[in-house]
Symmetry: C2
């Protein structure tokens, strides 16, 4: 059975299962969402109006046995940034959608205000159904309801109250094998789903399977690929401490943004570090290792229990812990876990929301360090949609604008994540030039600036950073098209067998003869397609700049500023 | 005594009185503020950071006996729009500053957070003084304090609580002869003044006088000029009904934006019209005619009393009445007057704030028509800086973003004023292309589209609108440089003696030989200077567009949409 486009029109509540246009056939994941958005969404449309489209696409390898191929890409014009947006997540949806022979879901139009629906997908079938029971519910309650309502093990893609309220920081959650939620966090795509009146999508592949053109070659390539992944020391570190292994490392580098980006080191770093978290998980009977989708050989997720040894959160990431922790000066890991859990339940990006809290603290709304205050605001204000709650849910840029704060760490209105660009300059180039607004995952220079993966580039020097970010962004765009987790990149950068094995997997899946050059060209095509959309939406090279304060305020302990000229940044696009 | 630049550095609290650089000598008002901002403010600086500058300049004819020459221009990079900004106001400050031989005040740098100052200006002297007594006070209380503190009749330029809180809709108020406040309303310049830690500027010219190069020629030119102004029927209408004469006229045209820009006519228009207002003023012992500065021969202001015949508000403009009235569906003129009074006291732009209320009503925060609710939110939320209040004070674009509303009438994030661009197309070209964001005063096509002044261009047809807006914007930029009130434009468009008399006034003031061509070239220079700043700040032609909803939602009663292509709009700049 060939893959199809599942098109869903929310204006007239019709659906269609369409052949894949020729130009889209070679694409998957981010490459496909960006291609569809660029082709079908008017760049100047309102992100929450009827002309925006929400595009959901599994990757090229999704639904196969390839290790770590569980990421799903979701794209649209972003209500947070106004740019094109792709945000991807783990969970089971990518694998199950691929088994429904679904190349992509395109949700377009807009129903009558106040009407809510769910969408059911299975092989050869798609339906729109009125929804009431889950409306207004948090993700945890929704998951419970769906567990009872649906037989078997369908996948779910859902929004929480933040998405229903169309907050610019709202995310889209994707069910994992244990009915926990993973998040396509960045850029407010949950608000776009909310604007379409869609509370959740259920995915039931029945007995659908992904066909492999050359099964033996596929198996062999996967063996090599798994070995490369499993052997890399960073994969192993991620398995033990999760992504939170980074707190101590980045603090040591002097690039851990602290107290709304005024310091590069956090006094309380030990208390929120991956090592501390690991010990606590062991003491409380949690799980340090947990996979967000079947087939993951890294397992960076975990089960974090509270002081009573009861489940509190999972997918408890460095970014969230940094943002609620160092950036807001909270050194109590349990308070951070509580905030993380509330944000997962509300369906709101933990980076955007936490950085917004840091800016609100700068404005005097709360004291720095007030973790209880953060939880209260999340629960009683954001969750209930009060003026203050809407404001925080509007993201860091909005909070800065509303409170007249000049130190607002955003690029293209998206919050800058957990690495200060003054002290780790490669990531600053990524923040500035990314087609998505500030996003570390678009070109993770930390690998080479700090972790000495793929070589070594001095984080404090300007030299080599533009090239580093360029190469990483091109490679990332391609990887984001495969359905692969970005954490394969560490092995791909260091182990010469890894990337060829990945290409062999794609070739064996489709019966192709792609080369490394084809993959590089794919990455370049994706970046340029995204950039062209952004230009048509009104973005110019002046938008590829970091906020002024990075250039005029020195960051301790290195006492460095951001010192790239506009011309130097713009040379990123020389390819 | 030659005019000087009064430069005030708020970082180190130093002042300097400098010679006027050669290139600035021919400029005044908007031409000078835009020239200085373009020369000295880095386009990518944060509007509320130390590198933005607040520039205050009287016009070329300020301080002379020329009729209607009382406008003061205030410029900076706008925290609301991110563009260059000039906003002008009446009151006595322009005349008094000119008599201090002050070509412009430039306030730069930034003091320690939480420190407040006032600035005193007199001929040859400027000082920075710590301020406590007026801090946190509304404009009315501040005016009372200053009336008692200062002897004589100094002028004042002040911010209210909104400016102190750095709200993006905060305005700057300028004292009129009766210690009432006039507002430089648009673009959040009050927040820039607040970010500089300046609560007010007092201006005492002592016995300073503006010198006239050719006194007899000046007197004769002014005689002709006054006659042209006084004879024009629109001048007379403005004197009787104020600007609010427009409610019935624009309602009749079908272009009165109603219920957050969903309708072109307001059922309650009679109740809030200029005619109704005039009757009520008469009944309650108010004044239908009142000048905001000495020498005004139009006197469009008024004294509006409450039901107990007590003073309620003045400078009660069509724009404010439309915005709180038709746009929010409030048909009680006393409620609108109460809201206007609160906004004057808070020092917040009545257009931006009221359009923000309309968007908040669309979002369900209040019911349309709830005038009491508006006053309550203004007093208890905006005035106290609560989350909700800050949100409203952030302007219409922020409210739309925070509540996920797609029908948000802004251009470059500034609220669209009282004329729907679907039904009055010339003004739509002005909104789209203005260097300041949506602003009717930048090229008031209503004159020719609706009032048949300067000819007649069908408001519903696309034909001739670009040319109309272009000519008006060029002329307006020049007029805004003279210190003249824009209401001279009606006479200037219809009476062939008016514009030559204005040029004669400038020539006689300085001993020059300017021609009409020189004035046109000045207007062009100003627009292009402003546009170049905006481009360097990241604005592209895609920003010269109206919001999508104008193109996809038909406006009753004419059932028209906005139908200009991007290319057609961009042809505005062909000069």
């Amino acid at each position: 059975m060939t893959d199809k486009i599942f098109r869903i029109n929310m204006t007239d509540l019709t659906t269609a299962i369409e052949d894949v246009p020729e130009g889209w056939a070679a694409h998957g994941g981010r490459g496909l969402t960006s291609t569809v958005v660029a082709a079908e969404v008017p760049p100047l449309c309102h992100p929450l109006g009827p002309n925006n489209k929400l595009v959901i696409a599994p990757g090229l390898l999704s639904g196969t046995a390839a290790a770590n191929s569980g990421r799903i890409s979701i794209g649209a014009k972003s209500p947070l940034t106004g740019t094109i947006k792709e945000s991807n997540a783990g969970g089971t949806a990518a694998q199950l959608l691929a088994r429904c022979h679904c190349k992509a879901i395109i949700i377009e139009g807009q129903p009558q205000a106040g009407k809510w629906y769910n969408i059911s997908i299975s092989p050869g079938a798609v339906s729109i159904n009125e929804e009431t029971e889950t409306i207004g519910k948090g993700n945890f309650a929704t998951a419970e309801i769906l567990k009872n309502r649906f037989e078997g093990k369908p996948g779910f893609i859902a929004i929480g109250p933040a998405g229903e309220m169309k907050m610019s920081a709202a995310n889209i959650s994707v069910k994992d094998p244990d009915f926990r939620m993973r998040s396509a966090g960045r850029g407010g795509l949950g608000a776009v789903m909310g604007s379409k009146g869609v509370k959740f999508i259920s995915i039931d592949p029945q007995d659908g399977k992904v066909e492999i053109a050359e099964p033996e070659a596929f198996k062999e390539a996967n063996r090599v690929f798994v070995k490369a992944l499993a052997n890399h020391p960073i994969s192993q570190g991620l398995g033990q401490y999760g992504t939170n292994v980074l707190v101590n490392i980045i603090n040591e580098s002097g690039g851990l943004p602290t107290k709304n980006f005024t310091l590069g080191q956090f006094e309380g770093h030990e208390k929120i570090s991956g090592e501390t978290m690991y010990e606590r998980i062991q003491e409380r009977g949690g799980k340090p290792k947990h996979g967000c989708h079947p087939g993951c050989v890294i397992q960076c997720s975990q089960i974090y229990n509270d002081a009573n040894n009861q489940y509190k959160t999972s997918g408890f990431e460095y970014e969230s812990i940094w943002a609620m922790g160092a950036d807001c000066c909270v050194d109590d890991l349990d308070q951070i876990a509580e905030a993380d859990s509330i944000m997962d339940d509300l369906g709101i990006d933990s980076i955007e929301t936490s950085v917004a809290m840091g800016v609100a603290m700068e404005a005097g709304v709360l004291e720095f360090g007030d973790g209880e205050g953060i939880c209260r605001i999340l629960r009683d204000e954001v969750g209930k949609g009060t003026g203050m709650g809407r404001l925080i849910g509007g993201g860091a840029g909005m909070v800065g604008q509303i409170y007249g704060v000049a130190r607002v760490p955003v690029v293209k209105n998206q919050a800058i994540p957990a690495y200060d660009p003054r002290a780790i300059k490669g990531i600053g180039i990524t923040y500035a030039t990314s087609t998505m607004g500030a996003d570390h995952t678009m070109g993770y220079s930390i690998a080479t600036n700090i972790l000495n993966v793929g070589g070594s580039v001095d984080p404090l020097s300007k030299e080599g950073q533009v090239e580093l970010s360029r190469n990483l962004q091109i490679a990332t765009a391609a990887i984001d098209s495969t359905g692969m987790c970005l954490f394969i990149a560490f092995a791909a950068l260091d182990d010469e067998t890894c990337l060829p094995a990945l290409i062999d997997l794609i070739n064996a899946r489709f019966g192709l003869k792609l080369t490394g050059d084809d993959v590089v060209n794919l990455g370049k095509y994706i970046l340029k397609t995204e950039k062209a959309f952004n230009e048509a939406a009104g973005f110019s090279k002046q938008d590829d700049r970091l906020p002024e304060f990075f250039s005029i305020e020195k960051l301790p302990p290195h006492n460095v500023v951001w010192d790239f000229s506009g011309e130097e940044i713009d040379s990123f696009w020389d390819f």
